[in-house]
Amino acid sequence: MRSVAVLGGAIFLFVLVGPFLAPHDPTAINIPERLSPPGEEFLLGTDALGRDILSRLLHGARWSLGLAFLVSLIGLIIGTVIGLVAALGGKLADWAVMRTTDTFLAFPEIVAAVVIAGLMGAGTWNLIFALSVTGWMRYARVARGIGLSLQSRGYVIQAKLAGLSPWYIARWHYLPSLLPSLTVVWTGMFARAILGISTLGFLGFGVQPPMPEWGTMLLDARIHMRSTPFQMIWPGLAVVTSVLAINLAGDALRDALADEGNHS
């Protein structure tokens, strides 16, 4: 749990503070300085419109990481609620929820997100919608699986006998047991969301220019690949580093939970 907390804090801090460290306005066009190589004034060089790449990277964290955080959190909430409805709502609700989940899983998530975001029109809100709608199923499956196993626990039976509402039982008796596993799923989905946002940005269906989202930056950089290849390195490196860090934290958390399970 601690590794994830540290990671969450670091990302939050980076998203919050990063833009203030930027030496230049990330969207200020400066044609005379266009495509400058890395140097003293522009540490990582400038892009085709003369915008400072370092500043764009730092501001881009807000888009790439911030949106991924938001999207994975929305998925977490939707998926947990749906999974709990399946676990608590009886056989019919369970069947309906599971078939709905299968339906949403009947399509590769990123491809589905491309189709949804593309048809609804490029833009940040549609991007959030597309990635949330395609990103809740894993949470739902995990929540349902653990939820069903909790049904026979003594305290859940007691709560039902006491006449507590399903909402109360879900909140106080199911959620605490679900959270550790859901956090592991969340780290994976957070990483996937970063990849998804940059992929959609790169394909032109995501965050739109001039916003400095990392995938969108790569779309710009690609055009000038032959003359200024260095432009392409940084945004990609930012994506890889973030995804790698989140995945490693998720692995550590999963191992820690497995150990805990073995000891108790």
Partner: protein
């Protein structure tokens, strides 16, 4: 009163309970005795409405049992409490569900009766002894003053000394609170000493129903005889009573 009328329960393709008829008047105690696997837990689940009978009806004062909000004391005291919540929270659940206020005086009186210090309620289930946890379980069962309380092997997780003590507390509280009780147990000595009536369950069928005194003196069924004799030879049943 609780009325179980010709109830049969199916588990998968096999029959777990067959043609069970029992009744418990207000403020009386019925003990259901039998070996493990006889269908005792299934009977409790059926009374609480956790499983639906295949045939027959179970009612409390003519209405569905759930209408009287029956309480249950479980065999495993610790797993009956949410491990991450304080015992106080769990104990107060039956009251908070009904939206009524918390009668502080009643909690204190019950705690005194169960010989629990109020401070114990602020701990987690893992921080109290099994015997304490079981008494907190009884506290939770009684807190909302239910007219019917079911006890599923309430003593079997406890050591011998605690068993005797807890059994006495249950009986004292029963006469004080005046609820009807159904106690499921395999302990004949306990059943004879603390119940008004005894029902013998074997392979899902009722072998006999008798008052505790007449059962101790002379069981009618041969299986009841076997159970009683085994209890005597173990010294668990005092024939002089």
């Amino acid at each position: 009163m609780l009325k179980i009328d010709q109830v049969s329960v199916r588990r998968g393709s096999s029959v777990a309970l067959e043609d069970i008829s029992l009744s418990i008047p207000h403020a009386k105690t019925l003990a259901v005795v039998g070996e493990s696997g006889a269908g005792k837990s299934t009977l409790i689940a059926a009374i609480l409405g956790l499983i639906k009978p295949w045939k027959g009806k179970i009612t409390w004062a003519g209405a569905a049992v759930s209408s009287c909000r029956p309480a249950l004391v479980m065999q495993e005291p610790r797993s009956a409490f949410n491990p991450v919540l304080s015992l106080r929270r769990s104990v107060l659940e039956p009251i908070s569900a009904q939206g009524t206020s918390v009668p502080g005086e009643r909690i204190k009186r019950l705690c005194d009766g169960l010989e629990l210090s109020a401070e114990i309620l602020d701990r987690r289930p893992s921080e109290v002894s099994i015997g304490q946890a079981q008494r907190v379980g009884i506290l939770r069962a009684l807190i909302a003053a239910p007219p019917l309380v079911l006890f599923d092997e309430p003593l079997s997780a406890l050591d011998a000394v605690t068993q005797k003590h807890t059994a006495k507390l249950i009986t004292d509280l029963r006469s004080e609170e005046g609820f009807a009780a159904l106690i499921v147990t395999h302990d004949i000595g306990y059943a004879v000493a603390h119940a008004d009536e005894i029902a013998v369950l074997k392979s899902g069928r009722i072998e006999e129903v008798a008052t505790a005194r007449s059962f101790a003196a002379s069981p009618q069924s041969s299986y009841g005889q076997t159970l009683r004799d085994a209890a005597i030879s173990l010294g668990a049943l005092d024939t002089a009573a």
